[in-house]
Amino acid sequence: MTDIVDTSASPPAAIDLKAEFGEAGLADMLSALDDELFGLKPVKARIREIAALLLVERARRRLGLTSGPPTLHMSFTGNPGTGKTTVALRMAGILHRLGFTRREQLIAVTRDDLVGQYIGHTAPKTKEVLKKAMGGVLFIDEAYYLSRPENERDYGQESIEILLQVMENHRADLVVILAGYPDRMETFFASNPGFRSRIGHHITFPDYDDEELVAIGDLILSKEDYRLSADAKEAFTRYVALRKTQPHFANARSVRNALDRARLRQANRLVHGHPGAVTPDDLMTIEAADILASRVFAPSLVDEGSP
């Protein structure tokens, strides 16, 4: 007992993790994440776990217990519009607060930024990106495009090799987050086992359900001082259910696009079809008609009975 007190002269004897948690601003970060992103329960749980792990890691380091730089590279897999980029941004914040990256910086790139057009073009391009990303987070969107196994002369492989080398040798300087759609990421990892083994955290983003999508729509609108009328809300709920069954559905992104178009129709309605002056209320409210005019309802037009 006394020994512990004696040896703790320079490093602290104990660290209050709860206090650290608050001090690092993690609580704010995580609750902001909760407010901003609906659903995504497994993702949030995983981020909490990672944050806790990093906190413990930091505490261990302070107490002088052995800890090399942890493997922080991550892969985010999920369908389009499930919040991968948003979460990556938050992750950059969390990593920075905890001191695992030196700056709160996220560089988002795709294949075009990394892979060159001709021989000798790829390495400088990839290195340029890596140089810029150092000290922060490198977010590679649609990472599976890096590898084109069907074309053995593709330059993507060269880029992958440089990336892997830096991911391994500069673990303290750079965190790489790969993102992409689940099935294609699976084949990408299968053909590049080096990536899979260098990634510490594989996070899967589930699709949103109808309720969440409607709630996301509400949030998007309220941020821009719009709202749905009661009828419009009902129409929008039906819209979401229908849209989901159609091709190219991109979760939250589709919701945002649909609402952008609804705003377009609302503007048109107000300019050309509105009698008299408009009130702030008119300008804020999106009516059912603005939503029902969508192409998504087209096949069931007869049932709706609307023109």
Partner: protein, 138 residues
């Protein structure tokens, strides 16, 4: 002969950790860091070869260190870092120091040229340049 040039020339060579701190200082001031190398270390040779382009949009010193590691692998001879400040409207050097040198530094030969009336012209010439470019430091 231990060649000295530029800033910190009166100090022992900086370690990598110290170089990182110097680079970070430059970047935090908004200066662009540039890597140059040469195998002709004559003091009047101001134009060294550039290793890639000056790094204008890098935030972290490790980015520069990545390029420096590359340069050290490929370039024989001397390597220096220069930091350019563009705030006056033109690029001006704020800081320049040597970050790499060959294992063997043969030094300089002093040549005396006897002219008319007992005048003497002095010239220094690196021993290394007796050999062709690229083969001077191995």
């Amino acid at each position: 002969m231990h060649l000295t040039q530029g800033c910190f020339s009166f100090l022992p060579d900086l370690t990598d950790a110290q170089i990182v701190q110097q680079i970070q200082y430059c970047l935090d001031n908004g200066w662009a860091v540039n890597i140059e190398f040469t195998d002709d270390p004559h003091p009047r040779n101001t134009y060294w070869e550039m290793w890639g382009q000056p790094m204008f949009d890098i935030a972290d010193a490790q980015g520069v260190m990545l390029a420096l590691a590359d340069c050290r692998k490929h370039a024989n001879g001397y390597i220096r870092l220069s930091a350019f400040d563009s705030s006056p409207g033109w690029e001006s050097v704020r800081l320049s120091f040597i970050v790499g040198r060959p294992k063997d530094e043969p030094g300089f030969r002093l040549t005396r040229q006897e002219g008319a009336g007992r005048t003497i012209h002095y010239t220094t010439q690196p021993y290394a340049v007796d050999r062709p470019e690229g083969e001077r430091y191995r």
